[in-house]
């Protein structure tokens, strides 16, 4: 298996999958190369993401990356999330093959976009 046990676990049992009603922030990211995309929803209380949900379309690694990112995000400040990197997501997945790096980009990009959405709404 070319994928880490953590990646396989998140692919098989995605955490926090599904949409959210009336979220405080939403964001999307798409990887044009293959059409993989992710959408994140945030519920924010006192500047922290108390609930993170996602929807995604893509290959196994993209689904796993979105799932792991939703776990990374919960409980963190939105400021923190606005700086989340692909590297953070990849590290949480215990690595990605060279030709699947886009999975972390899509997930991190969508979660950052959701954080920026909340930050801009607050202003």
């Amino acid at each position: 298996m070319r994928y880490s046990p953590t990646l396989v676990d998140h692919f098989l049992n995605p955490r926090n999958a599904g949409m959210m009603r009336e979220p405080d922030g939403t964001g999307e990211s798409e990887y044009a190369g293959c059409g993989d995309l992710a959408r994140f929803f945030l519920r924010v209380r006192y500047g922290r993401a108390v609930e993170v949900r996602f929807q995604t379309y893509g290959c196994g690694p993209t689904i796993a990356a979105a799932s792991v990112a939703s776990e990374l995000g919960r409980g963190r400040t939105v400021d923190d999330l606005s700086r989340l990197t692909s590297g953070d997501v990849e590290e949480a997945l215990e690595g990605l093959p060279e030709d699947r790096k886009h999975a972390a980009d899509v997930a991190a990009g969508a979660l950052r976009a959701a954080a920026h959405d909340w930050l801009s709404r607050r202003r």
Partner: protein, 385 residues
């Protein structure tokens, strides 16, 4: 993971035990070069001759019309380039759903100055013989159309195309890698002049294949060296492979009909089961004119690769209809040619059944596909893809 189910027989098959037994002496006991005139060489030559006769008997052709090659790709290359190069210039007709071994060979010929027409297919993946007729030109020098498509299993109207070719004395090459040894094939009735076939799709070894070349067909070789294969394909014969291919063909001649019926019923069971449980799923390919063991499923709004991965984790081997390389997903050229919309084509999964497939395997696959697709769709953005 305990259970393992192999539903990728169009990609490759395990060597049949009878085939393996026949091959074994030809590694270390009978090892002479079939071209050598001494006793060692003569023993080896007998093995090659017997295999050639078995294949010729199966196809009801003469043994001199069979040439051994290293694989289906080489057979297709030799078939198409061999016919084109024998004429030096002119126009070829092929279809847009051929295997890349034919398509890319045609593209190379175009770069060398040949003209090629790629005829389209209908929504079932079938070539319309009238379209081939319309593509004919006075300088058409060869037609190449596959017998069955490996991805969707649609059988092409080879007989009708063969008649067109025959009326105009245009040599007709058929890539039969997916049908040879699976369904009956009569080269005379179908008007075939050159036919590619392979060993590892029919429980023979990998690295061995062949070409039937009708006597009198003008061909030039594409690989040069010794005088092997009546100067049509240079290189020392793959002795154990050839012996294995000959035996595989003999076994198929015996088992083919019963197995086609059994596997066809299992394929129907698979499709009926999936259709009953999974919403928004289609069977691609022709409803009746198709390979018995192939079920190409189109699962809307789900990406092939994630289904393949999910099934792999359950011990099930199938293949994806869209290929993702370095982050670029290309839907299969076959589904694109059939006009399958992108939101369906991206979720193409091919199941190809075979000798070892049981009803229990099929039921396990139905249940697993249902579980995986349900889970993948749960995380799906509405209207994505």
């Amino acid at each position: 993971m305990s259970r393992r189910v192999y539903l990728d027989h169009n990609a490759s098959t395990p060597v049949h035990p009878e085939v393996l037994a026949e091959m074994l002496p030809f590694f270390a006991e009978i090892y002479g070069n079939p071209s050598s005139i001494h006793a060692f060489g003569r023993e080896a030559r007998e093995g090659v001759d017997q295999a050639r006769e078995r294949i010729a008997r199966f196809l009801q052709v003469s043994p001199q019309e069979i040439v051994f090659t290293s694989g289906g790709t080489e057979s297709d290359n030799l078939g198409v380039k061999g016919l084109a190069s024998a004429r030096g210039r002119g126009h070829l007709i092929t279809s847009s759903v051929e295997h890349h071994a034919v398509l890319r060979t045609c593209q190379v010929l175009e770069a060398q100055g040949f003209d090629v027409t790629y005829v389209g297919v209908d929504a079932h993946g079938m070539v319309e013989p009238d379209e081939v007729r319309r593509a004919l030109r006075p300088d058409t020098i060869a037609i190449s159309v596959m017998h069955a498509n490996s991805e969707v299993g649609t059988l092409q109207p080879i007989g009708a195309i063969g008649r067109l070719a025959r009326e105009r004395s245009i040599p007709f090459h058929v890539d039969a890698v997916q049908t040879f040894g699976k369904i009956p094939l009569d080269v005379d009735a179908l008007g075939i002049d050159v036919l590619s076939f392979s060993g590892h799709k029919i429980y023979g070894p990998k690295g061995i294949a062949g070409l039937y070349i009708r006597k009198g067909t003008k061909m030039v070789s594409i690989q040069h060296g010794g005088e092997h294969e009546r100067r049509r394909r240079a290189g020392t014969e793959n002795l154990p492979g050839i012996v294995g291919l000959g035996k595989a063909v003999e076994v198929r001649a015996r088992d083919m009909h019963a197995e086609a019926e059994r596997v066809g019923a299992l394929r129907d069971r698979l499709w009926e089961g999936v259709r009953a449980r999974v919403p928004e799923v289609r069977l691609s390919g022709h409803p009746t004119e198709r390979l018995p063991g192939t079920a190409s499923l189109l699962v809307r709004h789900v990406e092939s690769e994630s289904i393949v991965l999910g099934l792999d984790l359950k011990g099930i081997a199938v293949s994806a209809g869209s290929a993702c390389t370095s982050g670029n997903v290309e839907p299969s050229h076959v589904l694109v040619a059939m006009g399958v919309p992108l939101d369906w084509a991206m979720g193409a999964v091919r199941c190809s059944l075979g000798r070892s497939t049981t009803a229990e395997d099929v039921d396990y696959v139905i249940e697993s596909v249902d579980t995986i697709v349900r889970r993948l769709r749960q995380a799906l953005p509405v209207g994505a893809a």
